[in-house]
């Protein structure tokens, strides 16, 4: 129990934590083999127009829908 104004029950905390942990575990094991190559190419393209520090690609699964989330971090000094 966590204090008087008992917030979330621990089982639902467990469910939330597990859902996220397992999703990222699956991503790591089911990641695409071409991910690094793709990152480099995206970086190259964006680099033509604006300075880039790094590219992060994640596979996101929501029910039956799968998506690639691509984050491009810009280089402020460039």
């Amino acid at each position: 129990m966590f204090g008087f104004f008992n917030q979330k029950k621990s089982a639902s905390v467990a469910k939330d934590r597990l859902t996220i942990a397992i999703m990222s575990d699956r991503d790591r094991t089911n990641g695409y083999p071409f991910m690094d190559e793709m990152k480099a190419e995206i970086m190259e393209v964006v680099q033509k127009y604006i300075g880039v520090k790094g590219v992060e690609i994640r596979k996101e699964v929501d029910g039956d829908m799968e998506a690639l989330a691509i984050d491009v971090e810009l280089d402020k000094n460039a």
């Binding site: 089982a11 639902s12 467990a14 469910k15 934590r17 597990l18 942990a21 397992i22 575990d25 094991t29």
Partner: protein, 270 residues
């Protein structure tokens, strides 16, 4: 031709060997010829749970290596003549398992038994891959607890990538047993509900087994708890075994404690 079922888990200590012993005996009690094989080489334990540790002469590694034949190595259970047991090697380690040898052993067992149950090493250990490779189906054992569930997901992932059936474009059937459920804790929201676990792992439920002190008492004596008609875990294993033998047995709601049930019933009259 029998069916080959691997009993698997992510981490150790969730009750995999206990489940193997009880399902094997429960199936045998359904008048099916069943063999349980301990694949946990170097950590032999199934013999103790079955009360057969003094009868082991030859182990499965010796059978695979041709040092003994299957007949010599099979041990008949004292509890039920339909149940046979093949011991793990205690002296070797899991690296002795080779695909071809495992395939041959499993094929020979399949010819002679209706059910071939393989007690796998934990999913994170070596030897696990070889145990699941030639299985027609897998039973995943978890506890309602985060580390067990997370590791089970990894074990299922390996199953899906290494199974010979999957490689041949087929499906390997997967079912879940949730072991050591404490009804009071589920009710008070301190333990994960089985529905949540099924949703997280995306797998079909085979059965739920409640926490029961009788399980340790049974393993002390080498008499699997399924023999104890009064034990709630024994009853659960009996229901699961009946299901595996094709009987239609309703899922019992063991996530409601007696007091919770009482509240529910009295609630009707309010």
């Amino acid at each position: 031709m029998g069916i080959v079922i691997a009993v698997i888990s992510g981490k150790g200590g969730v009750g995999k060997t206990t489940a193997t012993a009880n399902l094997g005996l429960g199936i045998a009690m359904n008048n099916k010829k069943c063999v349980v094989v301990d694949f946990d080489i170097g950590q032999r334990n199934l013999d103790m749970i079955l009360g057969l540790e003094n009868r082991v002469v030859y182990d499965m590694v010796q059978v695979m290596d041709g040092e003994a034949n299957l007949k010599q190595a099979l041990i008949k259970s004292k509890a039920n003549e339909n149940l046979h047991f093949l011991a793990a090697s205690q002296t070797k380690d899991k690296s002795v398992l080779e695909s071809q040898k495992v395939e041959k052993l499993v094929a020979e067992l399949k010819e002679n038994f209706d059910f071939v149950i393989l007690d796998a090493p934990a999913g994170i250990e070596s030897g696990y891959e070889h145990t699941i490779e030639f299985a027609d189906a897998a039973i995943v054992i978890v506890n309602p607890e985060v580390s067990s569930i997370r590791d089970a997901d990894r074990a299922i992932g390996i199953l899906d990538s290494k199974s010979a059936k999957v490689k041949a474009g087929d499906d390997v059937a997967k079912y879940l047993i949730i072991n050591r459920i404490v009804a009071d804790m589920v009710e008070s929201g301190e333990m994960l509900k089985s529905d949540d676990i099924l949703e997280i792992l995306n797998i079909k439920l085979l059965g739920k087994v409640p926490e029961d002190k009788g399980v340790i008492d049974a393993s002390n004596q080498g008499k699997p708890v399924v023999l104890d008609k009064k034990s709630i875990a024994g009853q659960a294993y009996s229901r699961i075994s009946d299901r595996l033998c094709g009987q239609k047995v309703d899922m019992k709601d063991i996530e409601v404690s007696d007091s919770g049930l009482f509240k529910r019933i009295t609630g009707i009259f309010k």
